[in-house]
Symmetry: C2
Subunit: 215 residues, 2 copies
C-alpha cells in the first residue's frame, strides 16, 4: 500500500464537524472545509465520493464515540455500586463531571444539528441518529426499570420516559448553553436531573433486593 491517507481523512472530518456545528451542513461548503483542513478539492473527493457521504461518515463516527461514552460511563458506574438506582445516579454524576470540563465555547450535539436540517440527509444517515439515541433509552431504561422494582417511586413513572429525559436534558441544555454562550448550563441542568431521580426514588425506603446486594 502507498502512503497513509487516514490522517488526511480525519483532518477533513474534524474540520467539517466543527464547521457544521456552528453553521449547519448546507452552509458548510466543501471549499471551506478543505481550506480549514488544508487540503485540496481533489483530495476531498478522493476520500469522500460526495458531500453527503462525508455527512454520513461524520455522524457515524460521532455516534460511535457517543456509544462508547455511554458504555464507558455505565461500566464505571456498575463498578462503583451494585444498586441499579445508584448506578444511574453515579452515571449522571459522571456525565455532569465531564460537562463541567467543557471548555468549548460552543457546546453542542451533532444529532441536534442534523435533526434541524433533516431534509438534507438520507434515511440511512438519520437512522444512525435514532439508533444512537435509542441506545441511551434502552440501556438507562433497563436500569431504571430495575430501580423502580427495588425503590418504589413516589410518583408513577415510566422508566423509558425517565431515561429519555436524560437525553432531553442534554439536548435542551446544549441549546440553552449555545444561545447564552455559557457552557456551565449543561452541568447545572444535569445536576437538576440527578436531583429529580433522587427525589423520585426516596433514597431511604429501599426495598431489600432479592439477592444480597449491598447497595
Amino acid at each position: 500500500m502507498p502512503r497513509d491517507g487516514r490522517g488526511t481523512r480525519t483532518a477533513i472530518m474534524d474540520a467539517a464537524e466543527t464547521l457544521i456545528l456552528d453553521q449547519g451542513f448546507a452552509a458548510t461548503s466543501v471549499e471551506r472545509i478543505i481550506a480549514a483542513a488544508g487540503v485540496t478539492k481533489g483530495t476531498f473527493f478522493h476520500h469522500f465520493p460526495s458531500k453527503a457521504d462525508l455527512a454520513r461518515a461524520i455522524v457515524e463516527r460521532y455516534a460511535e464515540a457517543d456509544r462508547a461514552h455511554l458504555e464507558d460511563g455505565l461500566a464505571r458506574a456498575e463498578g462503583l455500586s451494585r444498586d441499579p438506582l445508584q448506578q444511574v445516579l453515579i452515571f449522571v454524576g459522571l456525565m455532569r463531571e465531564q460537562a463541567l470540563g467543557l471548555d468549548a465555547e460552543h457546546p453542542g450535539c451533532l444529532f441536534a444539528s442534523y435533526c434541524y436540517q433533516a431534509q438534507l440527509f438520507d434515511e440511512g444517515t438519520l437512522r444512525v441518529i435514532t439508533d444512537a439515541l435509542d441506545a441511551w433509552r434502552r440501556r438507562l431504561g433497563a436500569k431504571l426499570a430495575e430501580a423502580v422494582q427495588r425503590h418504589p417511586p413516589r410518583l408513577p413513572a415510566d422508566p423509558d420516559d425517565l431515561a429519555d429525559m436524560l437525553t432531553v436534558v442534554f439536548e435542551g441544555a446544549f441549546v440553552l448553553a449555545r444561545t447564552r454562550k455559557e457552557a456551565a448550563v449543561v452541568a447545572t441542568q444535569l445536576g437538576l436531573y440527578r436531583d429529580y431521580l433522587d427525589l423520585l426514588f426516596g433514597a431511604r425506603e429501599a426495598v431489600p433486593p432479592t439477592e444480597g446486594a449491598r447497595f
Copy 2:
C-alpha cells in the same frame, strides 16, 4: 395607498418558516421560498431587502408569539390560583395540554434551528433569541423564588435554574420528538418536569403565606 401587501408578506414568512424548520436557513433558497409562497423573486425582494432581513423578521415574529404564549399562560395560571407554586404547576400543565395538541409531524423550535447555525445570523438576530429565552427565565424564576419561600424545597434549588429547566425540557423534547417523529414526547417530558416540581416542593407541608392567600 396602493393595495395591501401584508398578506403576501406573511405568506412569504410562513413558507420560509416551515422550510427553515426542516432544512435549515442556508439550504432554504429564495427560489424555493417564493415557489412555496406562490410569488416571484421581484416580490420577495420588494418586501425584504435581503434574505438576512427575512431571517430577522421571522425570528422576531416567532419571539413575539412566544412571549404572548408565555404571558397568556401565566395570566391564566394566575387566574386559577393565588399560590405561586400552584401557578407554575398549572402553567406547566397548560403547556403540556397544548403540546398534546401538536398535530404537526415536525414539532420544533425556530430558536434551536437558528442557534445551530448561529454563524449565519448577525448579532441582532441572535439577540432576539436570547431575549426571548431570558423572559422565560425571569418570569418563571420569580414565581419559583416565591414558591421556595412558601414551600421549602426538599433539596436546595436555584429558582432561575429550575425555570431554565422548562426551556431545556422543551428544547430537548423537540429534538427527541423530531428524531423519533413522535410528537407525543413533548407532552410526556413536560409531565415529568411537572412531577419534578411536585416532588421538590412537597405539596402538603406548605408554609402559610404571610397574607391571607388561600392557594
